[in-house]
């Protein structure tokens, strides 16, 4: 302990002047934010090279009318690149729809919307598919609607930066023996306001991650999670439901009309989670 204190004192008394203290503030902020920016930037690095080529090949196959090949190419990109991209998912949804697979098409578009909620084309496609297939959009609570205003991962980063940033704005002036400037107080208040806005959105993201899409048409909704269970009803491909619990290879889902039952895991695709087939 003495050694540690001695080390601290040595550092402290060697750099006592203001200039050095400002340097330390910069170093502190850099140590907090640089990893975040690095991690954000690293996402783009994951997606390069062959995936870009495959993406263009998939688009070309779609333009040529070979929708099966286009869908397969887009699926390959998503499985190999290990980094889902909203544009690929949008195009995969188009190809799946052209192949007549309503469930996978809506799942792909929902995932594209999950990653990039600002893409109007994806929203229009979802509306188009639901109108054509006579499906209802999922009923979202107010905080889930709030969570759709930004991409799902942005809320978490925003909450993190606003909370720690606000806390730093409060702590740093006192600890660095600087005057508590008005603008610092304002920034801290704004940061905490942003953080409190993020809380319901994060709750919405959390509950929306249990949403999923029925993949196969005439999917059996069972009373119990067994193969010989009593059949409650059949679900249409593309219907959305919330997963409430899992048991073995079955999921207990609740539909928008409050009907609930068990479906096989392979017949259901999560929007905000990885599925077995991904």
């Amino acid at each position: 302990m003495n050694t540690f204190l001695h080390f601290i004192n040595t550092i402290m008394f060697r750099r006592m002047d203001l200039e050095h203290r400002q340097c330390r503030l910069g170093a502190f902020l850099a140590s907090v934010f640089l990893p975040v920016f690095f991690l954000c930037g690293h996402e783009n690095c994951l997606w390069a090279g062959t995936s870009e080529t495959l993406f263009q090949e998939g688009n070309q196959a779609y333009v040529n009318g070979d929708y099966q090949a286009a869908a397969q190419t887009f699926r390959t990109i998503l499985s190999h690149a290990n980094a889902p991209a909203s544009g690929v998912l949008h195009n995969l949804g188009n190809a799946e729809w052209k192949c007549g697979r309503t469930g996978p098409a809506i799942l792909a578009w929902e995932r594209a919307n999950w990653l990039e909620p600002f893409n109007a084309n994806t929203i229009v496609n979802l509306r188009f598919a639901r109108k054509t297939a006579h499906l209802e959009a999922p009923n979202l609570t107010w905080y889930e609607i709030c969570s759709t205003w930004l991409p799902s991962r942005t809320w978490a980063w925003l909450a993190m930066l606003s909370f720690w940033g606000g806390l730093a704005m409060i702590m740093l002036p006192g600890n660095l023996r600087k005057r508590r400037a008005d603008w610092l107080q304002g920034v801290a208040a704004a940061a905490f306001a942003v953080f409190f806005i993020c809380i319901p959105a994060l709750a919405g993201i959390q509950t929306r991650s249990s949403l999923g899409v029925v993949l196969s048409d005439q999917t059996a909704l069972r009373l119990t999670p067994t193969q010989d269970a009593q059949l409650l009803t059949h679900l249409a491909a593309g219907e959305m439901a919330r997963v409430e619990m899992t048991r073995g290879k079955y999921l207990y889902i609740r539909m928008g009309n409050d009907s609930a039952g068990w479906v096989e895991r392979v017949q259901f695709g999560f929007v905000g989670r990885k599925n077995p087939g991904d």
Partner: protein, 614 residues
């Protein structure tokens, strides 16, 4: 009767008359208050549900050639809804029974209506022989009723057989059929004897994928050809609309009005109206094309033409209404399609179209249909009415046909006083409904094209806050802020205890000078030894005296020692050191050997003083 008797009789008659007047005075006005519908209902004969149920069963005709079909008809005097057949019928081997039509009639019988329910089955036997349908029970009004046995004789095939009983056949137009299309279906009731069938009633189309328009039935008597024979038939044309695509079945059923004197069994010589049905007809219904549906498509399927629209006036002032009458003629579901909605614009206030109910030419399948738009120009710069999108699906071309109502030239004069007219507030709901519906149509979703770039990427679909590394990442800023806080607390503590700061500084200076001292000893450097030794002594004594180390003199250093040490060898060594320093400062000459010989005592002195710093 004697006089007394006559007296009481006359009194009784008078009393009865008074009561009768009172009764009429109370009851008759009350009756006059009943509404027309209630009066009509009270006048209707009641339905007889109390008479014991009597069941009849027969094959019609009772004898058929092998491979032909007969109708196994069960008739009973009970309400249709109350009759329940057993789940399985005792069908004799070799005979096939296919469920057919089922209907109900009400036959007048004095003041009551007798329900008459008929259930038909289509009976087919491939081999000749006598087939007996045994008696079995069915349920009517919750009670079990016995259906008597019936016999069918099947003979060997002997050339083309004529009609043995009234037969219903269905004729469909050629071409492909689409969901929502009004199909003119021809139902023919063939007369077996050319004059026994007097007519038909209760025409129905049975099939869960079809809707019949009951207002479209048109009957006539005609001559037709059946199996190469000419025969008289009652022909009914009816519009049937498929509501589901795919292969769907339906059958037609009618109650034939038979002259009992000329044909058939005679259960009631005055009225014989058996239920006759057709063989099931399978229709392959296609869905409308998903792609290419134009904006103005409102469900019109057929072949239509647009007559030139008519404006109520070719010159109007801005803000005044003008009506645009549109007439559509052709064949198809002309009376069923939705009226085309105009596109909302800021230059026009457009009210929803109204169909012309007085139009005499609206027929179920073909004819003309007129509807009127009320338009209000809101600007004097307008030169024509807005185009109103309209389209229909032509089954012959298998494609949508655009039939947009064209703009009509119109001269719009400025409003009085040159004031630009505002939207009329009289019918805001209508205005909203038009604009909303137009917006809805304008917003009809269509599938968009491909994304040209891969778009936004992510590591995973899972929310970031559910990832373990994100939780771990929170340790970094938390640790940094916590470290900063501890550092600041420690700094404040040191500010309150300056002796600690001096002690730390003395320790650091002492170590530095001690290293230099040891090096001087190793080099046998007398002057260096003296300088370093004094610096060490000053540094190690400074914290206890709260003074600058460089300001300490020999007496100050000696004061840090105890009295015994001060007078002993340690004190002597220190004095010699300071004396050597003074002499070296003035004479620049020193006895190196003598000075260095002080090192052992000095080392002990320094170690003793160093203990005070810890």
């Amino acid at each position: 009767m004697d006089a007394t008797g006559k007296y009481f009789m006359s009194k009784a008659i008078k009393l009865l008359g008074v009561w009768a007047c009172l009764f009429l005075g109370l009851v008759v006005p009350a009756q006059s208050n009943l509404d027309t519908l209630s009066t009509l209902m009270l006048q209707q004969p009641s339905i007889d549900v109390e008479t014991p149920v009597v069941v009849e069963a027969q094959f019609d005709p009772p004898s058929i050639p092998a491979g032909a079909s007969a109708t196994f008809r069960i008739t009973l005097n009970a309400m249709n809804e109350s009759v329940q057949l057993p789940s399985t019928l005792p069908i004799p081997p070799g005979l096939d029974l296919i469920p057919g039509g089922r209907g109900q009639l009400f036959l007048p019988d004095g003041k009551k209506l007798i329900p008459r329910t008929t259930i038909n089955f289509r009976a087919i036997a491939k081999n000749p022989g006598n087939y007996t349908m045994p008696a079995f029970s069915l349920t009517a009004y919750g009670k079990s009723v016995v259906v008597p046995q019936a016999r069918l004789t099947v003979t060997a095939v002997n050339g083309a057989a004529g009609l043995a009983s009234p037969t219903v056949i269905v004729e469909l137009p050629r071409g492909e059929f689409y969901t929502g299309q009004a199909i003119p279906v021809k139902v023919l009731l063939l007369d077996p004897t050319n004059n026994s069938v007097q007519g038909m009633t209760q025409l129905q189309i049975q099939g869960d994928a079809f809707i019949m328009d009951p207002t479209s039935v048109r009957q006539r008597r005609d001559i037709t050809t059946y199996n190469g024979h000419s025969c008289i038939a009652m022909v009914a044309e009816v519009l049937v609309t498929p509501i589901r695509h795919g292969k769907n079945q339906f059958l037609a059923q009618v109650n034939a009005i038979i002259n009992p004197a000329l044909f058939g069994p005679n259960p009631n010589p005055s009225l014989y109206m058996p239920l006759v049905d057709s063989a099931p007809v399978t229709l392959d219904v296609l869905p409308l094309p998903k792609s290419g549906e134009p904006t103005g498509f409102t469900g019109a399927i057929g072949h239509f033409q647009l007559e030139p629209p008519k404006l109520s006036s070719t010159e109007v002032r801005a803000g005044d209404p003008v009506t645009l009458t549109v007439t559509v003629k052709g064949e198809g579901n002309i009376s069923k399609f939705g009226l085309p909605r105009p596109v909302s614009t800021s230059a026009w206030q457009i009210f929803p179209p109204t169909a012309d109910a007085q139009s005499p030419n609206v027929l179920p399948f073909s004819g003309t249909r007129s509807f009127t738009y009320t338009l209000i120009p809101l600007s004097d710069r307008l030169r024509a009415t807005p185009a109103i999108p309209f389209a229909f699906f032509d089954p012959g071309k298998k494609d949508f046909v655009d039939m947009t109502i064209p703009p009509m030239p119109l001269k719009v004069n400025p409003a009085p006083g040159g004031v630009q007219p505002q939207t009329v507030d009289l019918a805001p709901s209508l205005m909203e409904s038009v604009s909303e519906s137009n917006n809805d149509e304008a917003r009809q979703p269509v599938m968009t094209g491909l994304a040209e770039t891969p778009g936004w990427k992510a590591w995973s679909y899972a929310p970031v806050q559910q990832r373990s590394w994100f939780i771990a990442l929170q340790i970094l800023p938390a640790g940094l802020l916590a470290g900063l806080w501890f550092w600041n607390r420690h700094r404040q503590y040191l500010a309150l205890h300056p002796e600690l700061v001096r002690k730390y500084q003395a320790q650091r200076a002492f170590k530095t000078h001690l290293r230099a001292l040891k090096k001087s000893v190793a080099r046998q450097d007398g002057n260096g030894f003296v300088q370093s030794a004094i610096a060490c002594l000053q540094a190690v004594c400074a914290p206890s005296l709260a003074a600058n180390p460089n300001a300490l003199v020999c007496e100050d250093v000696l004061s840090a020692l105890s009295v015994e040490d001060r007078m002993g060898a340690y004190g002597t060594a220190i004095r010699k050191l300071f004396a050597a320093a003074d002499s070296g400062y003035f004479s620049h000459q020193s006895d190196t050997v003598a000075i260095l010989s002080l090192w052992p005592e000095l080392e002990k002195t320094l170690s003793m003083l160093q203990q005070k710093l810890l």
